[in-house]
C-alpha cells in the first residue's frame, strides 16, 4: 500500500512537472531565436515578439521551477531505500545538474528579465541563449540519471552488494541515454513550437497584428517540421535500443505475448491483456513490427511469455511483465499523434513555402487545437518508458517494491499526495489563466518597453515596475 501510494505520488508529480519542462526548453530556444532575429535585423516587431513570448515563457518557468524542487526532494523523502542503494551512482548526475545547469539557468534568467536596459544588447542576447542552453543541459543530466535506471552501466557491485560508480563516462555514452536525450530535446522543440504556433494562429485568425505573428508562426513551423520528422526516426531508434536492453518494455508495448518472426504490427486491438492474450479484434500491418523493433524486414521479436520464463530463471519467481494496457496505448497515443503532427508540420511547411500561411483558415484553426497534442504525447512517452521498466526501479538491480522509505507510513504519503495535488491544481489553474490571458494580449507598443519586465526605461534606471 505504502509502495503503491509512493508510486502514485511520483507518477503524479513527475508527469505534472514534465508538462512544464518541455515548454521551458522549447520556448526558451524559440525566444532566443526571436531575439537573435531582432538583434540582426533591428526590426521592432521582433523585439515585441521576444517580449511577448518571453512573458509566456516566464509564466511557465515559474511552475516548472518549483515543481522541479519536489522531484529533487522526493527521492529521499519517498524512496529512501532506493536513494541509499543507488546514491553512489545516481546522485552524481543530479548534483552535476544543480552545479552546472540550474545555477546557469536561474542566474541568467534573472539577468535577462531585469537586464533589458542595463546590459549591452549583445550581452543581453547571450543571457537568453544561456537560459536555453542551461535548460537543455539540465535535461542532459537528468536523462543520464534516468537512463541509468533503464540500462545500468558504469558500476560494479561492492561488498555490500550495492552499485558503486566506476566509470562516469559510461553514464554519458549509454545508448539509452544518447537516444533518449535527443528524443526529449526534440519533444521539447515540438512542444515549444506548437505552443508558439497555436498562439500565433489565434492572433492571425483574429486578424490582429498579422505582420509580427506571421513571422512567429513561420518560425514555429520552421522549427517544428525538422523536429517532428527527426523525432519519428529517433523515437524508432530508441525503440530498437530498448528492445535490446529492456525487451519486456517493447514486447508489452506491442502486446506481443508469443515469439514471432516476421512480426506484424497491431495498429488497433481489443483485448490482448494478461488474461486474454489473443486479442478479440485486431488490425494488423504485416512486417511492420519487425522493422520497428529490429530494423530488419524479417526480424524476430521475443514474446512476453518467453521473457517471463527467462527472467524467472535469472531473478527468481515473480511477475516481470509490465502492464500491457498502459504500454500498448501509450505507445499508440505517442506514435499516432506524432504522425498527425508531422502531417500538420508538412502542411504548414507547404503554406510557408507558398507564403499563404496567415490566410489559411483551416490550418490556423487546426493549429490552435493542436497545442493539446504535445502534452499528451509527452505524458504518453514517459508512461511508456517508466511503466515499461516495471517491476524494476533499476532494471535488473532493484525492484520498485523494495525501494520506498521504510520509515514513511502510508498516512504520511496520503497527506503529502493530497497536499501536492491541491497545490498543483491551484498552480495549474493560475498558470492556465495567465497563459490564456497573456497569450491573447496585444503585443507591447514599442515605446512601452521596460514596464513589463521590471526593467527601467533608459535614462531613468531606478524605476521599478509593478510586474516582471
Amino acid at each position: 500500500m505504502t509502495n503503491e501510494l509512493a508510486r502514485w505520488q511520483f507518477a503524479t508529480t513527475s508527469i505534472y512537472h514534465f508538462l512544464f519542462v518541455p515548454v521551458t526548453i522549447g520556448l526558451s530556444f524559440l525566444v532566443a531565436l526571436l531575439q537573435t532575429a531582432w538583434h540582426r535585423n533591428d526590426k521592432p516587431e521582433y523585439k515585441r515578439l521576444t517580449r511577448f513570448f518571453g512573458t509566456l515563457l516566464l509564466i511557465n518557468v515559474a511552475v516548472g521551477v518549483v515543481t522541479g524542487l519536489v522531484q529533487e526532494f522526493e527521492f529521499g523523502m519517498n524512496w529512501s531505500a532506493y536513494s541509499r542503494f543507488v546514491g553512489d551512482v545516481f546522485g552524481a548526475p543530479l548534483a552535476m545538474e544543480g552545479l552546472a545547469a540550474f545555477f546557469l539557468e536561474s542566474t541568467f534568467l534573472g539577468l535577462w528579465i531585469f537586464g533589458w536596459d542595463r546590459l549591452p544588447k549583445r550581452v543581453h542576447l547571450a543571457c537568453i541563449w544561456l537560459v536555453a542552453f542551461g535548460s537543455m543541459l539540465s535535461a542532459l543530466f537528468i536523462l543520464a540519471a534516468n537512463s541509468w535506471m533503464q540500462h545500468p552501466v558504469g558500476y560494479a557491485l561492492n561488498s555490500h552488494g550495492q552499485p558503486e560508480l566506476n566509470n562516469v563516462g559510461a553514464l554519458f555514452t549509454n545508448a539509452t541515454f544518447l537516444w533518449g536525450y535527443v528524443h526529449v530535446i526534440l519533444a521539447s522543440l515540438v512542444t515549444g513550437s506548437l505552443v508558439m504556433l497555436a498562439v500565433s494562429a489565434w492572433h492571425l485568425r483574429k486578424q490582429r497584428e498579422v505582420e509580427p505573428f506571421r513571422h512567429a508562426a513561420q518560425l514555429s513551423v520552421i522549427v517544428l517540421l525538422p523536429a517532428i520528422l527527426l523525432q519519428m526516426f529517433v523515437g524508432n531508434k530508441l525503440g530498437e535500443i530498448e528492445t535490446k536492453y529492456q525487451p519486456a518494455k517493447i514486447a508489452a508495448a506491442e502486446a506481443q505475448w508469443e515469439n514471432c518472426q516476421p512480426c506484424s504490427f497491431s495498429a488497433f486491438q481489443v483485448g490482448g491483456g494478461k488474461n486474454d492474450q489473443t486479442p478479440s479484434q485486431i488490425i494488423e500491418i504485416p512486417h511492420l513490427l519487425s522493422v520497428l523493433a529490429t530494423g530488419t524486414w524479417n526480424g524476430a521479436v521475443v514474446g512476453l511469455n518467453q521473457l517471463q520464463k527467462e527472467d524467472e530463471k535469472k531473478y527468481g519467481p515473480g511477475n516481470y511483465i509490465p502492464d500491457v494496457f498502459i504500454q500498448y496505448w501509450s505507445m499508440r497515443v505517442m506514435a499516432y499523434l506524432g504522425t498527425l503532427i508531422a502531417l500538420l508540420a508538412l502542411w504548414g511547411g507547404w503554406l510557408v513555402h507558398r507564403g499563404t500561411l496567415e490566410r489559411s483558415k483551416w490550418f490556423l484553426r487546426v493549429s490552435i487545437w493542436a497545442v493539446v497534442t504535445p502534452f499528451l504525447m509527452n505524458t504518453a512517452g514517459w508512461l511508456l518508458t517508466e511503466n515499461g521498466r516495471q517491476p524494476w526501479i533499476v532494471q535488473g538491480l532493484m525492484k520498485t517494491i523494495n525501494a520506498n522509505s521504510p520509515s514513511v507510513t502510508s498516512t504520511d504519503i496520503w497527506i503529502s499526495l493530497i497536499v501536492f495535488v491541491l497545490i498543483y491544481i491551484a498552480l495549474g489553474a493560475a498558470d492556465l489563466v495567465l497563459m490564456l490571458r497573456y497569450g491573447r494580449k496585444e503585443l507591447d507598443r514599442e515605446d512601452d518597453e521596460g514596464d513589463q519586465f521590471g526593467a527601467a526605461k533608459p535614462g531613468a534606471t531606478t524605476i521599478p515596475a509593478l510586474t516582471y
Binding site: T55, L58, I59, V61, V65, V66, T67, L69, E72, F73, F75, G76, M77, N78, S80, S83, R84, F85, G87, D88, G91, A92, A95, M96, E97, G98, L99, F102, F103, L104, S106, T107, G110, L111, R118, L119, N158, E164, L165, V168, S405, P406, S407, V408, D412, V419, L427, L434, Y438, R445, D448, D451, Q452, T462, I463, P464, A465, L466, T467, Y468
Partner: protein, 346 residues
C-alpha cells in the same frame, strides 16, 4: 591527509551556509515586504530588490540536497525521509512563494494580489524556520536505529533545541532581510527597513546567544564556545548596532556573517557525525559510514572544482549588475507604472 568525504562534508556545509546567507535575505524580504512597503508600488520595490537573484539563491539549497545525495546517500536518505512532513511543508512554502514572485504582479485584481502576498509572507517565514528545526535536529539527535532508519514520528522532530535553532535562523533571516532592504532601497522604505532592523536587533542577539549556549550543551565537549560561535555573537551585535546607522553596507555584511557563522557552527559541531542518533551513539551517521565510494567522490570533486568557481563568477557578476538602490518612481517621472492604463502586463 584530507579524506574526500571530509572535503565533501565541507562542501555541503558551504552550500547550506551559502543558501542561508543568500536566500536568507530573500526570506527576510519576503516576510518584511508588507511591513516596509505600504502601497502596491512600494511592495513591488521591495520584491524587486531580490527579483533578479532569488531563484539563483535557491539553487544553493538544491545543490546542497543533491550534493548530499551524491556524496552521502545514507545521510540524504535518512534525513529526507525522517523530516518527511517538515520537508513537505518546506516544499509547499517554497512553491507558494516562488510562484508568487512571478505571478503577483500579473493581475490587478485585489484578491489575486492579496493571495500571492500572503503566499510570499508565509512561505518566506516557514522555510527558514523549518529548515532550521531540521538542521538543529541533525545535531540534537533523532531516534535512528542500527540500519540508519528513522523510528520516530513528526512530533519527535520538534525537539526543543531544534525549535530554538529554527527560531534563531528565522530571526537572523529577518534581521538580514531588513539590513538588505535598507541597503537596496531609498527614502521612506529605507527608513522603515531601518526601523524593522532596530526592532529585530535585540531579539536576534538574544536568540543567537541562547543558541550558542544551548549548542555547547547539546554538542558536548568543552564549555568554551568555539571561535565561529564567538564570531556569530559578535557579528549579530555589530549587525544590530550598525543597522541603526547609515553604514548600510557594513550592517548587511555583519548580518551576513552572523547568518554564516550560526549555520556554519551547526556543521562544525556536527562533524564527524552527519546525523546523531538519540537511540544509541553507535547508530550515528558519520561522514565515513554514509559516504559514497572514493571514485564517485573523486568525480564529484573534479566537477565541483570546475563549476563552482564559474558559478561564483557569474552569480557575483549578476549581483554587480543590479547593485544600487531600487527606488519607487517619483510622481514626475512619466509614466508611473501603477497608473498606466495600458501597462502591458498589469
Amino acid at each position: 591527509m584530507l579524506h574526500l568525504h571530509t572535503l565533501w562534508f565541507v562542501i555541503i556545509a558551504i552550500f547550506w551556509v551559502g543558501f542561508f546567507v543568500l536566500e536568507g535575505f530573500d526570506f527576510g524580504v519576503g516576510v518584511l515586504h508588507t511591513i516596509v512597503g505600504r502601497t502596491d508600488t512600494e511592495r513591488r520595490v521591495a520584491i524587486n530588490t531580490i527579483g533578479p537573484w532569488w531563484d539563483g539563491n535557491e539553487v544553493w539549497l538544491i545543490v546542497a540536497g543533491a550534493g548530499m545525495f551524491a556524496a552521502f546517500p545514507a545521510w540524504y536518505a535518512t534525513m529526507f525521509s525522517a523530516l518527511y512532513l517538515a520537508l513537505l511543508l518546506v516544499l509547499a512554502a517554497l512553491m507558494a512563494r516562488g510562484v508568487a514572485f512571478e505571478y503577483m504582479g500579473k493581475s490587478e485584481n485585489p484578491r489575486w494580489r492579496r493571495t500571492w502576498t500572503w503566499c510570499t509572507t508565509i512561505g518566506s517565514l516557514l522555510v527558514p524556520l523549518l529548515l532550521g528545526v531540521g538542521l538543529g535536529d541533525l545535531l540534537n539527535g533523532l531516534p535512528i536505529d542500527s540500519s540508519h532508519e528513522f523510528t520516530g514520528n513528526f512530533f519527535d522532530l520538534l525537539t526543543p533545541y531544534g525549535l530554538w535553532t529554527g527560531v534563531t535562523l528565522l530571526g537572523l533571516c529577518l534581521l538580514h532581510g531588513a539590513t538588505f532592504l535598507k541597503l537596496r532601497t531609498a527614502d521612506e522604505l529605507r527608513e522603515r527597513a531601518r526601523a524593522a532592523a532596530r526592532a529585530l536587533g535585540w531579539p536576534a542577539i538574544a536568540l543567537v546567544v541562547g543558541f550558542v549556549i544551548w549548542t555547547r550543551s547539546v554538542a558536548g565537549g568543552p564549555d568554551v564556545p568555539d571561535p565561529v560561535q564567538v564570531l556569530a555573537v559578535i557579528a549579530v551585535l555589530f549587525a544590530a548596532r550598525l543597522a541603526r546607522t547609515d553604514n548600510d553596507g557594513w550592517a548587511f555584511t555583519a548580518s551576513a556573517v552572523a547568518v554564516a557563522a550560526t549555520v556554519g557552527s551547526i556543521f562544525i559541531n556536527l562533524y564527524p557525525n552527519v546525523m546523531v542518533s538519540s537511540t544509541n551513539a553507535a547508530y550515528n551517521l558519520t561522514v565515513s559510514n554514509s559516504a559514497s565510494g572514493p571514485y564517485a567522490l573523486k568525480v564529484m570533486t573534479i566537477v565541483a572544482v570546475i563549476f563552482f568557481p564559474l558559478v561564483l563568477i557569474y552569480q557575483g557578476w549578476s549581483f554587480h549588475v543590479f547593485r544600487g538602490r531600487v527606488r519607487a518612481p517619483a510622481p514626475s517621472d512619466p509614466p508611473p507604472p501603477t497608473t498606466v492604463p495600458a501597462a502591458p502586463s498589469a
